[in-house]
Symmetry: C2
Amino acid sequence: MIINQQIKLLNILKFYGQKKSLDILNNVSNKIKPFISDKRLKRFEDSINNRNKRFIIVCENLDNPGNFAAVVRSADAIGIQNLCLINEGGNLDSNFEKYDRVSLGSGKWVTVNKYYSTTKCIEKLKEQGYSIWASDLSATAFQFDQLIFQPNKLTPQLSYFLSESIKNVNSLNNNNQEEEELIKNLAINELYNNNNKIVNNNNNKNFIRNDEKIALVFGNESNGISELMRSLSDRRFYLPMVGFVESFNISVSVAMTLSFLKMQGVITPDLSPLDKIKLLNKFVLSSIPKNKLVLEKLGFDSDLILKLIK
Amino acid sequence: MIINQQIKLLNILKFYGQKKSLDILNNVSNKIKPFISDKRLKRFEDSINNRNKRFIIVCENLDNPGNFAAVVRSADAIGIQNLCLINEGGNLDSNFEKYDRVSLGSGKWVTVNKYYSTTKCIEKLKEQGYSIWASDLSATAFQFDQLIFQPNKLTPQLSYFLSESIKNVNSLNNNNQEEEELIKNLAINELYNNNNKIVNNNNNKNFIRNDEKIALVFGNESNGISELMRSLSDRRFYLPMVGFVESFNISVSVAMTLSFLKMQGVITPDLSPLDKIKLLNKFVLSSIPKNKLVLEKLGFDSDLILKLIK
């Protein structure tokens, strides 16, 4: 009982902390926006409004920084905000400092968390509520395109054929047009509501609810994921392959995985107002030379602000 | 009238020609199969049974053979049988002879037609009934993921939500289970039949019928498709991008395009019996040293056979 009250109190504190941060960062944002062009600002806002944090890309022990750069580009273009780069032992770090140069600058716009330990990275992700899905060819892996993702958004194909089928069913039942519209909305709304019977009475093991947070892990170019990663992961998956090739280049694997998800309507914008204002300030500040000085001149505690947007 | 009769006669001759080729090649296949292991034969057959010829990948004037090698690998893995490689003027040919070495051998299992002229390649494809869709960022391009492809196969997601929605509609209408099954089948069958009202009364310009043959064209790494290609193409398309990156690496573009199609259930096996036996003989012969000699010893006209499977 006492513990429950403490948790409640902590949540209240957290809520007010976030509210306070939001106010400060909105204030900063309003003052620094005039330092960049409207066009650039619009580009930042458009991009941020399309970002997704439900999916995270994790790369473990890559040999080639160019591959990570390609992954970053695809993540940026599809709208994934967060990536993790694991270099167990940290021996490759100096090379990986270069990835941003080869990612054509896109590394500036996504958030890359670096880890020198697989265990630490996975612990952190699990703390944040992520399931760990590792790309793997071992016997316990499942074929990625057999999954049924509950969409957040109807894709054009799904929307089209659902409507047509419902129309079809209705014409058999001789319903009128008003009824048809009502039934269509009912049927489509069912897809999004996690408390409905489709989702809760679901005993299909391939069904993935749209509130499951997922970290997609890709391993080394030659050896795949580590044994440690395999043991820490919740699921192992592989992409469908029907030809003679037995594996994809990692940048191709990531691109295909993200496209599969995109085409199921699950990579959709989901950043909170606080996430958004943090990113916006980060992007705007990165475009202003001597930004610490500018923040001080505007009357802000620059260290606090840089900490808040970190 | 006379012309019609001539066409009819030509078609009859073509039919018997194909029938004859099929008989000869089946005979060859039965005699040469024992020269390779059962495991290898099964791999060839599995792969051929998953190949698609409705979609063709065309690469125009690439600078880097490594990129074409990556495209070949993705095509092979997703099940695309045919590619075209255009090098206008032929100046890059010696470099492109090397692509097979970097494609990890997958170039052996797909069919790559080389052209030294964009016009000739496109003429040939149009003759064969292909629409030309070029990847392009110009103003007339449309966003690829907005298209509604009529599926050849229900993807797990589409199948699941169609069934659930129909169940849902039926429960509102108090139908019984038998009726439900009937209505579900009726609705789902509608998707595949080109002569039904969904497809024929369709005035949605984003709707792509499942009998449209499509060549997907990807241009040079820096400059994209040529002006000539732009003017010859039937449609221009681009992949959705929400971030700061303005273009994808070509191997990533191809991978994403193929994944989008795969997830809409449109890249499905579609080779004819003649296509299949040609490929099987080609694959088996490529695994037999001194295959011409072997064919002669088995009593075949090796030149004729090699011509038939070309």
